[in-house]
């Protein structure tokens, strides 16, 4: 039965940029009122200073479906979720949802550090829209799920960040909603707890609830969702089965040069921003390919603000992921004992990867800059590296067989 519970029709969201930034001061508002008292205050400006974060998005979701929403940074996925969560209002269009809606855009917002785990459980439950009775009946279950029985009467400011996130997720996971809107909340805690979270999400999805799941964690998306919507520049690029969606998503990186603008997501506190990222082969020529067992060098340049200019020491990290989002490899300059310093306001660094133990496939590149324990800039999936078979290999590949992830240098010989 086509029982539609989420119906989105022509949803658009326009953000205003530039001159008329609304969060001005009272003086500016008064001045503009004095200059032209009859002009409507919030008139749409004709051009230039607006940005359409979403453009006429339409889709339906049937009851019990788990739908992934993926897209690069700035594709509009967070805006979509914010509109559906009623945090912000669309500029045009309409959406309808049947059933109690629970939205988890970020878990743990609203926790107060001075309050105990118990007090925060009730408070956070109420923030998420649970009534007191239902929190009370689930309380033990929540605490058990978070594995925090011993610490539940301790102020959460004494919790480790892992404990904090575990409690927050536990409360959120016990939300009694028929429609769940979820944004990247799985990226919390250690990997054992992450598995538990994904397991819980899976239970939720199987329990007949409808889930809209925004993420760039491809392995979680392909594991949880049967259907997937790919957003790009505020429009629906693809809507269909999750497997094809993942490849549509990856296509925007694959084969193109690494790019700071087109990364899947960008975060970090600023201070230094990566300006360019590229790869070179053994001869020093710019490339997008490498040979299995061969070498490739990753380069980056970054621009530092005054705080980090002139010799500040930072660490640079690169990582390679498989196309399903599984992390394969991370290297941090600090681990190699190399100290990288800014020169003027510039930072240039490179990292040579040798004897690449990767099977022929396409891999996604991520990069970040770290200062002590603070992440200054973090680009997730900002480029791809295509690994080709080394010369002379006789490559017999069957799409249906999983050959694993790595290529360990090896030699066969007949014995006896």
């Amino acid at each position: 039965m086509a029982d539609t519970v989420i119906k989105v029709e022509g949803l658009s969201k326009q953000y205003r940029l530039g001159l008329d930034v609304p969060a001005g001061t009272l003086g500016e508002a008064l001045a503009s009122f004095v200059k032209s008292p009859l002009r409507p205050r919030r008139s749409a400006s004709p051009d230039g200073d607006t940005l359409w974060a979403l453009r006429a998005i339409s889709f339906d979701v049937a009851r019990g479906q788990t739908v992934g929403v993926i897209g690069r940074n700035g594709a509009g996925k967070s805006t979509l979720l914010k509109i559906l969560s009623q945090i912000t209002v669309p500029t045009e269009g309409r959406a309808e949802m049947r059933g109690r809606v629970g939205s988890l855009l970020e878990i743990g917002t609203g926790f107060h550090p001075e309050l105990t785990g118990r007090e925060n459980t009730y408070l956070y439950g109420a923030i998420l829209g649970m009534d007191r009775a239902s929190i009370r009946t689930r309380f033990d279950e929540i605490v058990a799920f978070a594995e925090l029985e011993r610490f539940i009467d301790t102020p959460v400011k004494k919790y480790s960040s892992g404990m904090y996130m575990r409690l927050a997720f536990a409360v959120a996971a016990h939300l009694d909603a028929q429609i769940l809107l979820v944004d990247e909340v799985l990226a919390v805690g250690d990997s054992a707890f992450q598995r538990k979270c994904i397991g819980k999400m899976d239970d939720v999805a199987r329990g007949g609830r409808t889930v809209l799941f925004v993420s760039h964690n491809m392995s979680a998306v392909s594991q949880l969702c049967s259907r997937c919507i790919v957003l790009g520049k505020g429009e629906v690029l693809y809507d269909g089965d999750a497997r094809s969606a993942v490849s549509v998503y990856n296509q925007s990186v694959v084969g193109a040069a690494p790019s700071v603008e087109r990364c899947a997501s960008r975060s970090g506190s600023g201070g230094i921003r990566i300006t360019r990222l590229w790869m070179t082969d053994e001869q020093g020529a710019e490339t997008l390919f490498a040979r299995s067992g061969g070498a490739v060098t990753i380069h980056l340049t970054a621009q530092a603000d005054a705080r980090f200019a002139d010799g500040a020491a930072v660490a640079v990290a690169f990582a390679l992921d498989a196309q399903d989002g599984r992390r394969l490899f991370t290297c941090i300059s600090l681990w190699s004992g190399v100290e990288l310093r800014t020169r003027g306001s510039e930072l240039s660094a490179r990292c040579e990867l040798t004897d690449l133990p990767l099977l022929p496939d396409t891999y996604l590149l991520s990069a970040s800059i770290i200062h002590h324990r603070e992440c200054l800039d973090n680009l997730v999936h900002c480029g791809s590296l295509e690994v080709r078979s080394s010369e002379g290999d006789v490559l017999v590949r069957d799409e249906a067989i999983d050959y694993g992830l790595v290529s360990i240098p090896h030699t066969f010989a007949q014995e006896g």
């Binding site: 001005g24 969560s85 945090i87 309808e96 939205s103």
Partner: protein
């Protein structure tokens, strides 16, 4: 769960109807309770004196005002000992001043909540305004002790007291709604509020009696809703003078006006909070 019909959420690019708006607040009354409780629980945590601050603040003001205005300036207090006269005014005033400051800054202070979770935003300034009621209750106990000391017995007008408290809360919430919504757009509010509170104190009959103002101008004073409230607070608690019904009436109308316009302005700007805060 399928016993009752499923709620239907409609998202459109315009404001919600006022009825739907207020019923959402009712739906989230549990959150209002927990946020108010959080404000109260957290307020004096990790302070040396803890909840004693709820006592110290008004008592200190009373002592200072008694010395400077009662003794030195010799302000008349309608034949009532100045300390209990001024304290009766300070009860609603201290609550009001703290509530509008807390409420005015509340939305900006909760910016993470506003951008990450949906619930009726009205809950935020309202809970900030309600939190001060606990302090008012504590101050009332002190006041009762003071009354016993001065051997004052409140008259039948004491029955009006709950109504007056409700009016004070409505007044503080109304002003709080205006300030908190304006503050999201214009951060000037943060700097304006202390001046506003200070000026408002002198425009209200906290340290002086209404009788100090010449009768032809008393209605002008009544336009300040706090003056009607403070005057009636005194009449209710001290039982020495009759309640000035006309003054209280004017103040009630002004409070209703502030509250309703505050609510409408808040609703109008609410939809852009998340984009601006």
């Amino acid at each position: 769960m399928t016993d009752h019909p499923e709620p239907l959420t409609i998202i459109e690019p315009r404001m919600r109807r006022l009825i739907a708006y207020l019923s959402a607040l009712w739906q989230y009354r549990g959150l209002l309770y927990f946020l108010t409780k959080r404000d109260v629980q957290v307020r004096y945590r990790q302070t040396l004196l803890g909840a004693a601050w709820a006592v110290i603040q008004p008592v200190f003001s009373m002592v200072i005002f008694s010395i400077f205005f009662g003794r030195l300036a010799g302000i008349k207090s309608d034949g009532i000992p100045y300390p209990i006269f001024v304290f009766a005014g300070l009860l609603p005033w201290t609550y009001f001043a703290n509530a509008i400051s807390a409420s005015g800054g509340s939305l900006v202070a909760s910016s993470r909540l506003v951008t990450k979770v949906y619930f009726p935003r009205l809950v935020i300034p309202t809970s900030a305004a309600l939190g001060g009621l606990v302090d008012l209750a504590v101050a009332m106990i002190i006041y009762a002790a003071l009354m016993t000391y001065y051997r004052f017995v409140p008259g039948p007008a004491l029955l009006l007291f709950p109504v007056l408290v409700a009016l004070t809360v409505a007044c503080a919430s109304g002003v709080g709604l205006w300030l908190s919504a304006l503050n999201v757009r214009y951060r000037d509010v943060r700097y304006v509020t202390p001046f506003l509170v200070q000026a408002w104190l002198f425009l209200s009959p906290v340290i002086y009696p209404v009788s100090l103002v010449k009768p032809p101008y008393q209605w002008l004073l009544a336009l300040n809703p706090m003056s009607g409230i403070i005057d009636a607070f005194r009449a209710s608690l001290l039982g020495q003078s009759a309640v000035h019904w006309s003054t209280l009436g004017i103040s009630t109308v002004v409070i209703a006006l502030i509250f309703v316009t505050g609510l409408l302005y808040f609703r109008k700007t609410e939809c852009v909070f998340a984009d601006l805060v």
